[in-house]
């Protein structure tokens, strides 16, 4: 710490140059924060306490290939499986083709027992039981379309026509559930039996089974046992943890992780060239000053450390400012757009990854100039050679 003023003095020697470099670091880490915030939605999808106790079974051919309902009884008989619920992906739009409701499912009543993280009033569940066309939606989704309990909501299915040929399904909103994040309050859930009886095709088939298990440690064994039930049949299954399923589900739209890492790789590479050049220039200019420090008795290692500290401090300052700005941007956007925005707050995980990246970039860009400073010969440097 006693050398901090030396590092700071070196950084502020050329204020404009340092300011511009700092700005480029800030911009890079704003981008890092925003992209990581989006990516976190994918990487943390389904990671709830309840999810550890759930398995999801879908057709091995993909989510949209149906499985026979009769499989449910066999799954329930597998050792370690506590409860089973079935549901089907519906997919629909509200009022306009633009208003796609991506997580629209026909569910059984015990669906809510398997998802305790969905907080819902008992009266709403009773109404759900009593209403053939009853539906329960997430609070964020309800806010988005200004729905309230008692509303009739017409949904146009993207997959299933009704028996009469119409694709319009009208539901009675009987309850609103709350969850941990707005992103988890996006589901539109209605009764599976109503769906199965009213649809024009596919009766007796189901899209997904969700199983409750007592011990997450037994998940692999139970998943294998469930998949063994239909091996070599025409409807082989794939059973995985809830969190793995959630990631798979989101990844079918886009491999965001790959895109994020590709963009950040390019940004940080450019940043390293820019900051590296600034540091090299700064150290070249200060060669006589570094020589003076060595004359006074500063060791080679001290000079190396001073230059490295300078580059690390520059990147950490800019990076921290960038992440703070990213956090503020996400906060403001979430305030304005709510759950429509697929972003997580810039939290501890992103900060931790950011600080590691900052330190690594700082060390990398400072390494060559620091080595140059460490190796300079005092007599040559003082005589301007």
């Amino acid at each position: 710490m006693k050398y901090l003023h030396l590092v700071w003095a070196a950084l502020t020697r050329r204020k404009v140059r340092t300011g511009l470099t700092l700005l480029s670091v800030v911009v890079a880490f704003v981008l890092f924060g925003l992209l990581e915030s989006v990516n976190s939605v994918f990487t943390t999808a389904g990671q709830t306490v309840g999810a550890a106790h759930r398995l999801i079974t879908i057709s091995k051919m993909g989510l949209f290939n149906p499985m026979p309902v009769s499989l449910e009884a066999q799954i329930r008989a597998v050792r370690g499986v506590g409860a089973v619920s079935r549901y089907s992906f519906f997919g629909g739009t509200y009022q306009s083709p633009k208003n796609v409701i991506g997580t629209l499912f026909a569910v059984q009543r015990n669906f809510f027992d398997l998802y305790p993280e969905f907080k819902i009033a008992p009266s709403a569940l009773r109404a759900f039981d009593a209403t053939q066309t009853g539906a329960i939606v997430g609070a964020a989704l309800a806010r988005k379309y200004h729905w309230k309990v008692g509303d009739q909501i017409p949904i146009k299915s993207m997959i299933y026509p009704r028996k009469g040929g119409s694709y319009i399904w009208t539901f009675d909103l009987v309850g609103i559930y709350h969850a941990r994040t707005p992103l988890e309050e996006q589901d539109f859930l209605f009764r599976w039996h109503y769906f199965d009886e009213a649809r024009a095709f596919g009766k007796g088939t189901v899209g997904l089974f969700v199983e409750k298990i007592a011990h997450p440690r037994q998940a692999s064994r139970i998943a294998a046992a469930i998949d063994a039930l239909s091996v070599n049949s025409g409807h082989e299954t794939k059973t995985q943890s809830d969190s793995a399923f959630a990631v798979d589900f989101l990844s079918q739209y886009v491999d965001l992780g790959l895109i994020v890492h590709a963009i950040m790789g390019a940004v940080f590479f450019t940043l390293m060239l820019l900051t590296g050049n600034t540091m090299a220039q700064a150290v070249r200019e200060r060669t006589p000053e570094l020589a003076v420090l060595k004359t006074l008795g500063f060791s080679n290692r001290s000079v190396l450390s001073l230059v490295l500290a300078e580059s690390v401090l520059l990147v950490i300052l800019g990076g921290a400012l960038g992440l703070l700005l990213a956090a503020a941007v996400v906060h403001v956007l979430q305030g304005q757009m709510g759950a429509q925005l697929p972003m997580m707050p810039v939290g501890g995980g992103i900060w931790l990854r950011g600080i590691v990246v900052m330190a690594l970039i700082g060390l990398a860009v400072g390494a060559l100039p620091a080595r140059r400073g460490m190796r300079l010969r005092i007599v040559d440097a003082l005589s301007g050679r």
């Binding site: 060595k294 006074l296 500063f298 080679n300």
Partner: protein
Amino acid sequence: MSALVEIRSLSKVYQRGRQRIEVLHHINLDVAQGEFVALMGPSGSGKTTLLNLIGGLDSPTEGTLAVAGERIDQLGQGALARWRAAHVGFVFQFYNLLPMLSAQRNVELPLLLTKLKGAERRRNASVALQLVGLADRATHKPGELSGGQQQRVAIARAIVSDPTLLVCDEPTGDLDRQSAEEVLDLLQQLNRAHGKTIVMVTHDPKAAEHAGRILHLDKGTLVESEQAAA
């Protein structure tokens, strides 16, 4: 007086590409404790090279060099840096202060290498600045000081850790006559009142007169030694 600096058959050779340049040839020299020695000679005579060797900034090619009994020609880079920090104060022609630091902070620099706490470092630096008559300029940056004042700050930095030896390379070379006189008087005072041993390189015969002994170098060889009038 016992010899503080003992130089025996000291040579320095530089290799510039394929060219071998012998800058110092078998120098023998003793500098006594508390002595003020001026090194004079034409450009290229090797006086700065000899000063750099005495100050531990460079290592000789041949011969021995001991300061206060310690063979500094045998020290490695790390040990030499530690030795310089503990035993030598440097004053350069162009002051070589760090432009972003205040006079006080510049003077404190050598003390960063000691175990002194911040308050002690600040106190010692203040005392050194008082000694050179610049206590009221402690917060000024080098750019806000005249050449003479900057050189006095450099002298305060050189003495702040109470070194055994002061090495001064053309300390008045960039100053007007009046400032030069003030700096030389200050060095003389440090030598006489505080017992500092000083080796000073200079071109200026008037500056050399402030020393107790004047040595002349020519083509890397000590050719003459005389007692100065001072």
